[in-house]
Symmetry: D4
Subunit: 251 residues, 8 copies
């Protein structure tokens, strides 16, 4: 969206060459791009500080590639797509060879660092187990691409709680903490009780039987006895990364 | 069902050649066709204005083809089957080469326009995201085949709400609006608050984790704070198309 | 909201006495009234053809009375509040003695007929049992207050299906049909198969045990084998009345 | 289990050659056969009138074949296994070539008619749709193998209720009626209201979205407004066949 | 419904004094009585062998009394209402002093024995615990009023299974067995394995915590490893009584 | 149950004065007492080491008093009833003045210590919060009455985990540990990771919103990442006390 | 907890007057106060910046009063209790007359402002409807007592979305936004799309039928298409206030 | 973890060469091994009597192999991994050829018997059906590897309860009993009523339809009328084995 275009419209309206209705409609339309199957929200960067991120699940390879290309050309910031299967990544990379694919996080991205990262406001990503790592990586990489300093520490679940306490210093130093845990999700409560910083809890679908694909951890985190734990959707590492970044970029 | 046959039976009854019981049974039976695995409801067109539509899920290729052929020969209107896998479509088209298969909507149909379409009573189909398009297409194509003028507008979800408002005029012009949305399904409520026309909400199974395959959007739509939103089963684009058509054909 | 005020603002803007931002904000604010605990939406009548309806559940007596009075003075149409307990009705009627309270429907209203009712577009409200009557009355009264001709027919559930068929003619004559049913909610499907008109199904919380307060009927109606049945929230007679009225008022 | 063996033990006990404890244990053990992974209940025929039926799901091919062989040699009645995949059927038929496999019902059986069937006590199996046929076949074949006269009538669901009424005579003639229906399962209630005979309702997993794999039909059937409908587990045609047979064989 | 009236209509139709449509409508209407809030199904006795039973939950005292009186005068059989609160019973008894109220079963009835009871076809009602007795009484009294010989045996749950086996003889003698059990509902499976007769399982809402008001017993009974167990809605003793009576009255 | 009676029957059988069937039936019957609404299981003490415990919920005051008196006279061990409301306790104490009522645990009991308690096998009962105390007391008192040494420690939940670690020594010394916790139930997992002893987890209904009356804690405990945690029903302190006692009395 | 005491223990240990084990245990114990039914966590203020807050639900009046008094004397900051019924508030105020009770928020507190509030970091609390106000007030008051500048804006739900847009400026100015909404909870998604700041969503139990006491809004918020929305437990205004305060106090 | 290292650190601290903080951190860290994707808990053997067990689900082949090797070299006890697919077992066995793979139990292990097994404290594992055997084997093998004497008895479900009673003696002899059952899970209650020993109930996902992948059996076991039944997660044979071993190793 070019500023000149906006000014042109405002001028036209003031001169009476366009009705109020026409002007509002035109200005609105300028802020996104209609490519038939999608309305790319180029305005999002202005409203939210980061361009639209492609959620690839349910999109065809062609759709994802098309949107990826548009975002690359319209924005100066990093461009990323989440939940990208390996074949789709290859398909996009045919025309965007500079794109990097992180197989664990299932994120395809082109990194373009446009702002300095504040190294004192660190985001710490913890997992209860090894199996929670993919979700944690999605969170960590998202936060990094959005301009944050990120640390990780995996497999510190409560069944051997001394492993967690050994990381007490890192927990104290973090500005925001993300906890990814499946099964009974108890790690969020324990960490929530150890720090005055915001804790973002991501239930994972790790577990079986009565974990009901993450429901168990989700309910546990919503009912955390440690007050003020922010809960995300099951396996939603991306959302956790975004929220951590937003918190990190408050005044 | 031939009219003469009906008259013959009525005559026979009045003359005492048949008991009341025999007559009722015969007349009822005439209205459908028993082909063993199915009782084709040829009467439906009379009762509902459109012949029976084949729901292909759970039917074998042979069963679908057989019913398709019977409907083609018994009705003068368009014939359609929903939830048709690509192989089944090919199988039916071997003997019905004029049938068209819409792969996105998964509908196989033979179009036979028998009535003029009222262009002033337009049905508008909106989706929250790109991934909701298959459901929207099922709704749109169904409504078209049942004799309605249909417009579509995809990917106008509430996270970038200016995209929706840019379509305010189309929303105002529509006689009925179908909203297909997954995740939190909020689009139905926002649209419901913008218009005096009936809004039909179709929750889709798009989402992950605690969307529970569409349950999240379904509950949201049932609880819409915008009064009078009609809710359909999850992913039931077909039902939305039928309801929109029925509304469009009221007095 | 006075038209003059709107014009005044538009004029001011064109003359440059107000910025675009100021103008938009002012015009928006004019369309509702901020009374602290509520933002009364006086604009709704323009957008939706009927003023805001008060949903009394969760509101104090004072809040309901206050909003009722504001709506009475701002609109020329009927004013109504739903889910009103008997004491709250008495409390409001102290200052609005002309208000009528329907105890079965739990609706408090002041009727002001401002438009002629189209008697040929009749809405028919059916119930499966006697216990579903309160929900049906909420639907019927809502539709009446919104300017529709309404008929009712109670206790025609499927366990004695001849009772339903005796009303076949009324079903055929109706322009829209509302079905309120609890337990297994089968009535909606049977009626849906008998007519080409839109059927609005309202599950009620009538039943016990595995009816789970209406869940059983809700799921049944969402899965109706009769295509195009519009489903409402459990016990939401009000919503059914609104939708029926909206359908009745399409082009 | 040989009668002589039982007598021998009883004698031994009376003579004081065996303690009470030993005797009871031995007699109990005789009534089943321990083959390691299973304890075949040869006593069931005496208690229940039909030998143990093999539920093949979760069993290996070897286990099913082994049990099938033992039942064939121990009982004089028909032998059957349910939920048999096509490969497993072939595997068993290698050594039991006289076994018949019904692919729709997924039942493998050897029929041995040992009693006369009472043709006046007929069991009628109805389905709401074509997709419910596999469940209905499991029920019908089970009842037949257990010595009952069975009729079937498919695709008579409530959306075109005249198809059902055309079969009113058969419904009246049946001694027991089995109704297999998915989606909203309304057929059971309608049939339940038409007859004084016991109705056995089998919810099927046919449907999608909010049918939740048969939950919708299950709840509907449990809440049937027609009193005295017997409900089975989802897709449990076998159980329906057994219950119908038991009812047919009461005094 | 008077036979003469039926004949009169049939005659009128044959003579051409009435159209087919008029005749069918009239005959249908004759079979029930429209009293505004209810359509009393006087035809039910003909279809099902017992007049309509009043389900009092959700009905007002006035409604229940009115229907009770109508049934008393139209039928010659016993009349009964279920789920009757103690005050409603008193209210009805003011005008029907001969009515008896069973407080445990919460049934109000007037007994009129019109047929001989077959003492050899006994129905046995078992409960797992003392708290299940109200449901069992509803079942037993219902079956009795419908003309069956009924025995009861309470508190024979599986935690002390010798109590059950002491009643083995009664179980063997019964023609139909009703099992009312809450908590884990295991009694139905054990009894189901002991007899060749039909077993009707009624889950009760007895239990706490994860019994979820009877869901636990309901699911257990639906999944019974004893084949052919008929399951009722939670606490639905009435339905169990009706089904047992229907089974008892098959050919 | 008198030993002499048993011997008498055995003798009678050996002499041929009674058939096997008669003998087994008689011996079985001796082991419980039929008082109409209940079959008191006097045999339980022999099988399980403790007499039947009265679960008062769903029983009338009369029923509870009657069973309490029978147990007092038949057993020499402590007698107890759980879930006893305060009025029922008073009613029983009218005739059993020596009975003690613990209002927090809602247990009514007569203590009769018949065996020495093993002080080295201590049971430790922990709670996450103050609101979990009633459940913990039910567990502790049950275990005490069954002859165990019990310690308690309340309000040591994970949000301030140093409170728990201060009790590390007691945890190490315990032979069995009971953890009562609501909300997210994380305490069970943390304790489970600190000890080699069996941990019994009792979810409580403490919490609100998405705790769903204890479901949240229940699922968390079932999914504990600490292996071998035994889970009880929600609020089932009694069951936890019984299990702890059983574990304490293994070889 | 006095610093001198800590030093004394460290000294003792270094001199060998205490073992490591004794020292650790003593230091831990110092950080909380054992009053039998509760272990008051005086250490929490050091770890989390605010003293323990009393959750009154499930506590007796005596317990709440006792803990309130201890916190008042041990901390210099504000003291508060949530979910306090009106009678409990009166009971505590008998001995703490300076305590203030907010009846809408159900919070009892003594305000002691010990730090300057940063007026530029404002927290904005929005509600969808009037009925959501109690939850919003709990959030707002909590955040205020924890030292934050808080603004509120009620009844700006999406069914009349212009009411929300009129507050666009306040939304842009806020540092953190709390959204309390019941029914379909769509407000959180719309607000989430309008700002780059963290949005905290609190589902409320406002609604009926298929809102299932807040489940509908909870699922909707977890599935928000606006990325990075933090979700709280149903009706958990307190948690939202704490999280907002934590975010506001990051670096 | 070498004892010398611990002593060295304690010495260093006493001499003032290390601060308290440094010492605690170091000692903690020593107790586990950080290999990036996992923090192996070498301390677990000291706390719980058995080294960490690898839960292979969700881990890559490389991760499992790496941890397996580390555990083999750090512990002298048996090493085991659960939920191991056949290919992963082969992959690990390439470098650990002495490892044994039990395909039914899906456990990979190296057995190293370091303690004498107490043959008088036997663990008995029962299953209701043949399909429950894999879960039972996981339980049995786990208990064996942890140093217990284990007996098994399969297919003794309640539908043919004499099969169970034939094993009464083994049940009486066992010190702990594990019951694995799917469907309605009734076996746990019956066994729980037969013995004074602890019963561990493992619901299995065996069943279909309304068994909801084991939910039915899970709820049944939680609501067992036999007091003191310990419940495990669905299909969690491993947890049952661990708990049985812990009970067997109490004082």
């Amino acid at each position: 969206m070019h500023k000149e275009e906006i000014c042109a419209w405002l001028e036209r309206y003031r001169k009476g060459e366009a009705t109020l209705e026409e002007s509002v409609a035109s200005l609105s339309r300028m802020s996104y791009e209609d490519i038939g199957f999608a309305q790319i929200d180029h305005h999002r960067e202005m409203r939210q500080g980061f361009p639209e991120v492609i959620y690839a699940e349910g999109k065809t390879q062609e759709q994802t590639r098309e949107i990826f290309l548009r975002l690359l050309s319209e924005s100066k910031k990093s461009v990323m797509a989440t939940r990208v299967p390996v074949e789709m990544a290859a398909y996009v990379r045919e025309v965007v060879p500079e794109a990097v694919y992180d197989e664990t996080a299932r994120i395809l991205y082109v990194r373009r660092d446009t702002e300095a990262v504040d190294e004192t406001r660190r985001i710490l990503v913890l997992t209860a187990g090894t199996s929670d790592i993919p979700v944690a990586r999605e969170a960590a990489l998202t936060a990094e691409l959005m301009g944050n300093a990120v640390d990780v520490c995996f497999d510190v679940g409560v069944a051997g709680i001394h492993r967690l306490f050994a990381h007490e210093q890192e927990i104290r130093n973090a500005n925001v903490i993300i906890v990814a845990a499946g099964m009974e999700g108890a790690l969020a409560s324990v960490v929530g009780g150890m720090t005055a910083r915001p804790v973002i809890a991501v239930p994972t679908s790790v577990g079986y039987g009565a974990s009901f694909h993450g429901l168990s951890a989700l309910l546990a985190m919503l009912n955390s006895c440690a007050a003020g734990v922010a809960v995300m959707n099951i396996d939603n590492g991306y959302g956790a990364g975004v929220l951590a970044s937003k918190i990190n970029h408050t005044r």
